[in-house]
């Protein structure tokens, strides 16, 4: 249903956000 689709996309987007935040943090550690 539409509600499930929205929930899935929202979950996917927030997972990606977390992954990106960790990635940027790790990269900055190595750049120091």
């Amino acid at each position: 249903t539409l509600k499930e689709d929205v929930t899935i996309l929202l979950h996917k987007a927030s997972l990606e956000s977390q992954e990106n935040t960790d990635f940027i943090k790790a990269t900055k550690v190595l750049m120091k």
């Binding site: 539409l2 689709d5 929205v6 996309l9 987007a13 990606e16 990106n20 960790d22 990635f23 943090k25 790790a26 990269t27 550690v29 190595l30 120091k32």
Partner: protein, 115 residues
């Protein structure tokens, strides 16, 4: 032939406006029979809101897809440059015979994470 086409076009236009009129009168009748009461919307309003949220979801989904692809590409590019940079540091270390401090725990974790 031209006249036939014009006639057909007029028929389609009339059908189109008749359908609009039917829909309008139907919606008007339903709104009259079930006026919005406190917290309960009439069926026509709900039908319109349903199609509104469907198209809003489509818009957001379309907006999200290219972002995810672009991020993947940029992260891949960052990893390539980081690897080249690390290799370059090792080469410079050999060239200058300099002793670099070993990676800290935090850096090791970060390196592992990026790998």
């Amino acid at each position: 032939m031209e006249a036939e086409v014009d006639k057909l076009e007029l028929m389609f236009q009339k059908a189109d406006s008749d359908l609009d009129c039917i829909l309008y009168r139907l919606e008007y009748e339903i709104k009259n029979n079930h006026p919005d009461s406190a917290g309960v919307k009439n069926p026509v309003t709900l039908l319109k809101e349903l199609s509104a949220i469907k198209s809003r979801y489509q818009t957001l989904h379309t907006r999200f897809k290219p972002i995810a692809v672009e991020q993947k590409e940029t992260k891949g590019h960052i990893c390539v440059i980081l690897n080249k940079t690390m290799t370059m540091i090792q080469e410079l270390q050999k060239l200058t015979d300099m002793e670099l401090s070993p990676l800290t725990e935090e850096e090791k974790t970060a390196e592992k994470q990026l790998k």
